[in-house]
Symmetry: C4
Amino acid sequence: MRPVRPEYNYLPEKNPALKKIYRIIYYADTKAGKIFDVILLLLILISTALAMMETVSLINVKYNHIFYEIQFVITILFTLEYALRILSIRNKKAYIFSGMGIIDFLAIAPFYLSLIFPVLHFFVIIRMLRMLRIFRIFNLADYQQDGIFIVKALKESSRKIYIFLLFLVIFIIIIGSCMYVIEDGKNGFSSIPQSIYWAVVTITTVGYGDVSPATAGGKFLSIIVMLCGYSIIAVPTGIVTSQFRKQAKSGISCERCGNEENDKNARFCKICGEKF
Amino acid sequence: MRPVRPEYNYLPEKNPALKKIYRIIYYADTKAGKIFDVILLLLILISTALAMMETVSLINVKYNHIFYEIQFVITILFTLEYALRILSIRNKKAYIFSGMGIIDFLAIAPFYLSLIFPVLHFFVIIRMLRMLRIFRIFNLADYQQDGIFIVKALKESSRKIYIFLLFLVIFIIIIGSCMYVIEDGKNGFSSIPQSIYWAVVTITTVGYGDVSPATAGGKFLSIIVMLCGYSIIAVPTGIVTSQFRKQAKSGISCERCGNEENDKNARFCKICGEKF
Amino acid sequence: MRPVRPEYNYLPEKNPALKKIYRIIYYADTKAGKIFDVILLLLILISTALAMMETVSLINVKYNHIFYEIQFVITILFTLEYALRILSIRNKKAYIFSGMGIIDFLAIAPFYLSLIFPVLHFFVIIRMLRMLRIFRIFNLADYQQDGIFIVKALKESSRKIYIFLLFLVIFIIIIGSCMYVIEDGKNGFSSIPQSIYWAVVTITTVGYGDVSPATAGGKFLSIIVMLCGYSIIAVPTGIVTSQFRKQAKSGISCERCGNEENDKNARFCKICGEKF
Amino acid sequence: MRPVRPEYNYLPEKNPALKKIYRIIYYADTKAGKIFDVILLLLILISTALAMMETVSLINVKYNHIFYEIQFVITILFTLEYALRILSIRNKKAYIFSGMGIIDFLAIAPFYLSLIFPVLHFFVIIRMLRMLRIFRIFNLADYQQDGIFIVKALKESSRKIYIFLLFLVIFIIIIGSCMYVIEDGKNGFSSIPQSIYWAVVTITTVGYGDVSPATAGGKFLSIIVMLCGYSIIAVPTGIVTSQFRKQAKSGISCERCGNEENDKNARFCKICGEKF
């Protein structure tokens, strides 16, 4: 997911009217553009809030119709905006298949589909994702950069985290199976999948307590598992922290020798001596 | 929140009596000042303890009246102190709107307001915050510095944490909505807000267990969410740890070239060679 | 556990037919070898899934016989493969007692033993561990390296973690005993082992809630224990993170002076000046 | 707590018999000394295990008398050992008031006192602490060093952790009070101390679920508190990790200029150029 719009090679249509619309809906550097963005943000918030409140039966009984109508209007506005976004941009394909383009589409599709499949109705909530545009609206360049920093750190450490999760899943399945045998299929450990659910709840230290060991053997194994989980939880933290630290330190890259690890305040490349 | 009093430009009134009072209540370097501070600390502790115990019905039934009277006396003493603090300082505005000045006001206001709005009575507990003065009282300069270190680290990383929380909130709302659809509004997942409450309880690994999935699909999604939460919890830790490490390492800043990353024990700036 | 096959001194039998088989089952660099590995992976997944689903009574009632037959066939295939692995390798002992060799054996043994001791039936799940071969199958060299990185970091920090666990266990036993005395053997704290179970559940922040303090004294001690646990959880994280960071930074080792801490992009040893 | 015996200025009595006894019980470098230590360790383990099992009513009913008798014998042996330890050492005061000396005393005192005050009986478990001698018994020098490393890191960061806990306690009390007001003294939030218990259970992510919010307002505040707690948990981890890293890196200290931060593999002081 890229919360930011890739600026380069995004160009408006040549038609001057579309060019103007383009500037308003894709940028926030004109007055009209800013107003447009703030209205958009409000509509997203209202729409999300409504989708949530609709499910609270006490509220829904009373305001059912009004809610539906507001949601309907907002969806039409979003559809209009989506159409204008496609119309006003030159490289339509690039927009449609960009991260934000897909989110924009998913923000309106579920509503129309819900007219046929009512269950899809709740996926209206996906339009929440459009809030990621918030960075642009408020011109939060610093925040945007920090967001990219976090996303990058997670991406860089994702490979290590996947491997960690693979080990963890194998460990969890084995623990779950042992527990199923020990508790003998009773006390909520009615099957191996159920016992695996317990193992996940335990190792991640969530601990709902809807399934918990009742026999002495089960409790003993639980103690072992919990103490292991205590050490295991350190691994993803270690991975991510190490990556954060590495990124925070990485500095100017030298154009002559390609060294990327010069200190941020360095004046000379520490490998080849090139002056920056 | 700044737990420490900004020393500079805080001056006493010129009147010699007020000057004396100023020295006693703002400083702890005279014997009277120390006694004053210790009494103040005791009053805060007693008052907070009383406010808590008042709510325990077994105790309250018996000592209701005594508690109220003690609280009353302490509040009057605090009010007196507040008045003296304002009177004895030259720049009254600076004190009143400083962090500690506001806390001092909030420590007395709820009690008087509770005579009109009884519900405000419990906010007497705010006077607890006055305990932050503890650093000054015991002259805990080292502790104070470490406190500033922590607060600074949190402030510096706050931007990253806000962004992380924005991502997290969007993730939580989407997970909550999915769970509402999967569990079909049953088993405690009676509405999307309620499901969001479950999602927060799960991802933060609190896991009360008052709402927990009952269907196979719900349990499967829970497992995914918990394993994700396991990796997600690493992010704020990574942010803060990285910041702590950075701060712990940052050392002497060079006056000539502005380099702020010289080792703490360096004798020469590592960028420009300036001798410290 | 070494998820990777130690390449060196693993040689095929001289017989050309066995040499061919060796290449197929031990390597994934021929077409036949790749197909073999993918089929193996599928069989492992199917077998593990079946072993799990067998325990879900609703499913088991219906498909009991089919499940058993599929499992039977897969086990025979695994046995065949195990035999071929032993036959086609020259140093049979090295394979049999290698990490993966033992796992391969454990993947088939429980099934045959379960014909005599039915309880062992569930240990069929151990064949899951064979999935660790996944790294080789998809030629995930980068992933494999990251896996080794994590395992190495845990091994390096294991000594510190053992000591931490020793301290923790002593702390837990003492807290458990105190709690047993305070709660007076009631409210689920029926014995010291039971109270120790509670202490582990609490300090690891799992918090099932099946045992929780009911008296004021017990709640007070719980608060102390939880706040301590909050600080204690930082220790394993600190140990592992520190190790991760250290490993991530460690670079080229100098052949002349043995210095192992040269930067990864260094061209000269920072101790003796040797050129790399 | 110092798990290790401070070697220096610990001298045996001059009497040759006592000198021999001293060597056996204080050191593990003779055969008799090793046997003595292993027996001691076994007695500690047996005694601790018995103290635990005594409280399991099913077991206790049967073996009550035997348990008591074994415990009695072990305590007499420990008393004998304690007497010998005092007798055979020259500086008796130093031993008695050393960490291990106090633990040795506490290992026997509760048993005798329990003849008068039966409740003290359970404190027999304190003798568990004697297990800290395990490092010496098995000559685990590396482990011992790592243990000192961890203890040192915790000590060094203790000041920061205390301040963090002070902030946390103030935060918890205020949150607890707010919750008491919001939930209106119902749903388990029957008093402020009870609500504080809930706040601790929540912020430390233990989450028993014995007290959990039931009103919409309470759930909303809970969500805020949990998300805050998520960021707060990063603080102690950050403190300890940063300290671990700092310690792991600290190396040779220069005798000429006192610089303590030379790399572990440095050959020259990086401040003054002194050769090591």
